[in-house]
């Protein structure tokens, strides 16, 4: 089964993700194999909208006071992160026949057979994918230090197998993120994601997947090359050659302001012409759900303002002012 969590404005992407999952899932048992977790108010859905997949609104998971508390505490991004483990645990509870569950961000899109993923879950309780699998060995951004700030494993894709260990993991994670899903690098916090750093240590049979065909995204394209073959897309990277492309993540790829790396300068998409057909396929998949594009952009929950992504002269100016204040702080005055 697949779970994603989205706001109303992310519904087209979430449905495209669900479609891609269904297409590549051999054992798909109709539409109930995809659940759309909604961190938004279903009352604001467009009139007459019928979701192809069951919607699970966050208000069904959290009691009203807790919901209000989390909404007041967090930005929309932090709020969604704070609800993620609760959604995962709830899906396991509501669907007792489900043995293996994938979580994917709405920006994820499946492009290959899922059997490898299920097979990996036979032998482990949880699957994690690292952002990068090699030292970038350049002076570009994001650098290794920034990956330490946000956590080395992406929380945009996770796999779980039903087990006592998974229950323990989800209970622990839920507890941590309800209080501490802020983005605050100085305090060692970053959403639900940085907590994953403890997961391979605290819990048994957690597998770190470095296969280049998994989770191809803006942040790892520099270490992976893609090729369209008659057997579909294949990926070569530091940990494998000609691996089938199983899924990609378009976060920050379609819309540069999205995600953790709005100012990334390692990858110039214009240099990677081979990626154009992949993106075209994705855009095509989205157009099927264009009708939903009028959904309200601002989500219902998460009342703290999101940080603004600066561009152009504003960004340059703020960078320069910051370096001036740093200089003032560190200037040593001889006695």
């Amino acid at each position: 089964m697949l779970l994603t969590i989205c706001t109303l404005s992310q519904l087209p992407q979430a449905i495209a993700l669900g479609d891609s999952f269904t297409r590549h899932s051999v054992h798909a048992t109709g539409s109930s194999s995809v659940i759309l977790g909604l961190v938004d108010d279903p009352a604001r859905l467009p009139v007459g909208f019928v979701s192809p997949y069951p919607l699970l609104p966050v208000s069904e998971l959290l009691e009203t006071t807790l919901l209000a508390e989390l909404s007041a505490r967090y930005t929309p991004t932090e709020f969604a992160a704070a609800c993620k483990p609760t959604f995962i645990a709830e899906v396991f509870r509501r669907y007792p026949e489900v043995d293996k569950l994938l979580y994917a961000d709405p920006n994820v899109y499946f492009t290959g057979s899922l059997s490898t993923i299920w097979q990996n879950l036979e032998e482990s309780t949880a699957l994690l994918t690292p952002f990068i699998t090699r030292n970038p060995a350049d002076s570009l951004w994001p650098d290794e230090k920034f990956f330490q700030n946000i956590g080395l494993y992406s929380s945009d894709f996770l796999g779980f197998r039903r087990s006592a260990e998974t229950d323990k993991l989800l209970a622990w994670w839920t507890d941590r993120v309800q209080q501490r899903a802020f983005i605050n690098y100085c305090e060692g916090l970053c959403l639900d994601q940085i907590w994953l750093m403890h997961v391979p240590v605290f819990f048994k049979d957690v597998r770190i997947i470095k296969n280049p065909g998994w989770h191809v995204a803006l942040w790892n394209l520099h270490e992976r090359s893609l090729q369209q073959t008659e057997n579909g897309w294949q990926v070569t990277g530091p940990e494998g050659q000609d691996q089938p492309l199983l899924f990609m993540n378009v976060k920050g790829w379609l819309h540069p302001d999205q995600g953790f790396f709005p100012h990334q300068n390692r990858l110039r998409l214009s240099d990677r012409a081979e990626l154009a057909p992949l993106l075209a396929t994705y855009r095509q998949a989205l157009t099927a759900h264009e009708g939903l594009m009028q959904c309200p952009v601002k989500s219902t929950y998460g009342q703290q303002p999101e940080p603004v992504v600066l561009r152009g002269w504003r960004y340059t100016a703020v960078q320069s002012f910051r370096s001036v204040t740093r200089l003032i702080d560190q200037f040593s005055i001889p006695r």
């Binding site: 699998t133 290794e144 230090k145 305090e187 916090l189 702080d329």
Partner: protein, 356 residues
Amino acid sequence: MTLAFTICSINYLAQARTLGDSLRQTNPDYQYIIGLVDKLSVANLPAELVPDYPMLEVDKIGIPDFAAMCDRYDITELNTAVKPFYIDYLYQTYPDASAVIYFDPDIIVFQPLNELNEALTRHSLVLTPHTCSPTPDWERPNEQHHLNTGIFNLGFIGLRNDATAHQFVNWWKDRLVYECRIDLCEGLFVDQHWVNFAPVYFNNVLIDHHLGYNMAYWNLHERFISQTDAGNWVVSGERASTPAQQTEPLQFFHFSGYNPDKPDEISKYQTRYSFPNKSNQTGGKPYRFADKPEQQRPDVRPLFDLYRNQLLANQNELYRQYPCVYIKPPKVFRYQRVRKLLKLPFNKLITLLESR
């Protein structure tokens, strides 16, 4: 042959000798070396203070532009930054060594490290996490501190002499030339935080969950000590009162942040536990956590007393008086109010530009 080494300045030689004595007793086949971040020619130690172990001075291991590194770093940063350079030097100097094991000087090894030796025949790196299970509360240190400073404790690392470990050491060296600083906002905490990358960049890294490895104040919540009738220290995941508890031999204990002058304090870096010690009850004040038996740790007290006695027997009082030649006066940034005033217009502009 396996090399074991530590790194310290002369003021910590009592600790380094205590570690060496414990290794000589429990793992006599290891060759033990003290990496010295200090100059023997300046200290001019009297004969009775010269340790019975080979010492390798940091200016002799060929660190490129070592003088600049000394200028850049304070004493903590410098002592940690040289770690991979020592490992690399040992690889080069002892090509026949099958493995290199680093221990912080404030460690005592209690057992022949058979499982570690065995693990190092199968794995390129062996790392010990600060804690193998969630921390029980938000006292210091807790999981969030480890997120900021590193999942693994770098008071210990075991490295096989193989290509993967060499690659790791070379990458680590490169990082530590300039970025062995403490700057949590920038994702930096000396040599330790970097090692989070080890299981991500390299395969064949063992994250060792053995409760007897690198026991210290940061994992007391999941480890309890008792002594067998034969006098051996054993660790259990539960308090001793449980019958039929599972135990493992204590392999090594890390007395981080312990001060023999304050024998009633577990570590200056932690707030979670205390020894229940009547001698604490000075001036009618009850000892710390007197009303919270779950936060008292009588089980570990004998280990700390043992450590204190060994430090005193190894001349801690004399060694600690030697100042390190690489120590610099701490940087003091004066005129804070002037600086704040100067920054004000810039900070206002930043806020303005970042507002919608």
